[in-house]
């Protein structure tokens, strides 16, 4: 469950954003739309704890993120938030399975079976021991989804997850995200300017 209230952010160069209040229940999904420059990335990074909000409130389940100390926020992020990016980065020296396990390590859990189950559900278990760089972009996107889910997060954030994909892959990825978020009981927030998704997610918020 995610709730924000009077969230504002000001960059050091003076650029300031004020965001509408957001609410998204567990197992629910929310699409945040908007063209470039309206603060989509800023909002996503605030929700993901990658930027520290100074005023307002971000509550995930019963925890208030605004005002957390840096170390505390890192830990909270690892435990409770999974993020899928448009272009996903991995630890290049590790295999697919190891990339999931390192996410678990930083989230403070160790559950190899869970990693394998996820890979199996996403149909890439056969690549588990391959180096991450040998995978195709589509496969990498699946690994990124698996990685976002591996710590049973309360919130899954997706930053333009489909904008680089063709229609077929777009459907598949959004389907996977919805399905996995539902199974994990997490709230799913997708930030995008990809209009194809408008038809798929009814709960929408447009930033202006």
């Amino acid at each position: 469950m995610l709730r924000t209230k009077s969230l504002e952010y000001q960059y050091s160069d003076g650029q300031a954003f004020r965001f509408p209040d957001i609410s998204c229940e567990s197992k629910d999904k929310l699409l945040i739309l908007g063209s470039s420059g309206v603060g989509k990335s800023t909002l996503l990074h605030l929700l993901g704890g990658l930027l520290n909000a100074e005023t307002g409130s971000i509550r995930i389940n019963d925890s208030e993120m605004v005002g957390m100390k840096p170390g505390q926020l890192d830990k909270f992020r690892g435990d409770n938030i999974g993020i899928v990016f448009q272009k996903n980065h991995f630890v290049a020296s590790l295999t697919v399975l190891e990339n999931l396990k390192i996410a678990q390590f930083f989230g403070g859990i160790e559950d190899e079976q869970k990693c394998k189950d996820l890979l199996k559900r996403l149909n890439i278990l056969d690549k588990a021991h391959k180096s991450i760089n040998t995978l195709s972009e589509g496969e990498k996107q699946r690994v990124a989804i698996a990685r976002a889910l591996v710590n049973n997060p309360a919130l899954i954030l997706a930053d333009e997850p489909t904008s680089a994909l063709d229609d077929e892959n777009c459907d598949e990825v959004i389907g996977l995200l919805e399905e996995q978020a539902g199974e994990a009981g997490a709230a799913l927030v997708i930030v995008t300017h990809d209009n194809r998704l408008k038809e798929k997610v009814s709960n929408q918020l447009t930033l202006v």
């Binding site: 990074h45 840096p70 890192d74 830990k75 992020r77 980065h89 190891e98 390590f105 930083f106």
Partner: protein
Amino acid sequence: MKILKLAYKNIIHSPLNLLLSIILFGLGIGLINFLFLFNAQLKTKFDSNLADIDLVIGAKGSPLQMILSSMYHIDNPTGNISIEECKAFLNPKHPLIKAAVPLSLGDSYRSYRIIGSTDSLMSFYGAELQQGKIHAKDFEVTIGRAVADDTGLKLGDSFVSSHGFNDDEDLAHDHAAFKVVGILKGTGNVIDQLLITNPSTVWNVHDHEGHDHQDHEGHDHGDHEGHDHGDHEGHDHGDHEGHDHGDHEGHDYGDHEGHDHVDHEGHDHGDHEGHDHGDHEGHDHGDHEGHDHGDREGHDHGDHEGHDHGEQEDKNNSNQAVNDPSIPFARTNADLLKYPEKEITSILVKFKNRTNFQALSMPRSINDNTDMQAASPAIEINRLYSMIGVGREMVKWLAFLIAFISAVSIFIVLYKSMRERKYELALIRVMGGSRSSLFQLITFEGMLLTAIGFLVGFVLSHLGIEILAGSLKSSYKYSFSGFQFMKSELILFGVSLLIGLVAALIPAVKASKTDIHNTLTEKG
């Protein structure tokens, strides 16, 4: 999946960087450790051979040379002294001396020295018999463990010696063969490298060449001088001068200036009382000619010429095995004292109480008042260390330079790879990694590089010692082992880790300051 494991995966992910770092660092550490090992093993060997010997007494010359030849057997002797001269020190009733072992350095066999001494030599070095018996007749020898192992000599084997320290067939004495009657247990000290016989055997080998002289009155003098000078010849120019200077600084022996002169003159006068001087001059000339040759062969010549005074034809006739029955077989110092006209090379002395004032002043009084010199092994060996220290220092600094360059290269490698992996580092933060996780990751990478480099250097240095053991053995007469390990290697390992940490510090701090938001939103 721990940070250390991630660091390990990261460094093996770029094998070329890894290779560069560990080759450079391994080389530096390897060189440093090689020097450590070499020094320590050499020092241990040198120290174990000190065998609590307080003083060495021998013919005048370089004190260091005398120590090296009499205790370490890696140089030629300074000359001989007559038993008459040194009888006071061989006297078992000497109030200050606990034990005195006379040495008569003789020929060698396959570059292992044959040494004539009393039975007390073996107890001096703590050697015990392993096989056979102690030599009891002329030309019988008891051999050290290393000699037996290296030359393959067994009980009952016979061999022919060669002159001096050379392993040169041309210089082989063609007299009676030596016979091995005993083999000693290994002790780890220099006695392992010796073939031990009686002083009389050494006398026999050398006197038989000029045994005609036995008939001549005054032969011993001739012999004596010939020997003495002969031995000096090979060394005077190089060793003596160098050493004498050093000696002055260290010891203040006062009369060492022109020491060689004193030696010659002293000798002549001392020994030749009542002899005609014409004869002497003839001697000295002969000797000095030999001098100019400046090598062992030169010595031989000098020797013969000095002796023979134109009796060359006799010499040629005398090269046969002759066991002179008039030469005694001496087991103890008391036996030796019965033959004051005979010569030995040096005496190893242990004092009853080395802090006794009279004992402390003994070397000086010997140097000042006799034709012999006395030197303390500990002092001379320390002097030797400081002399070879210069070359060692240079290699050491070279090694430090290599280690420093490798530390810089590790810094560059880490800094570069940190920049290349900025998305990865940001990702680790996204996954919940803290700033300190990134700091740890990069420092672990640096320390892993130096740790692996250390291991490579560690293996290289031990391998180097093991491989070089053969040639080291021939130049130092000691066996080195690549399988001896030292505490200082642990310290070196710690230092290696520290270097890795320092080299990684700046990249690690930079990594820990990775700004997730800016890195991830950076377009292109």
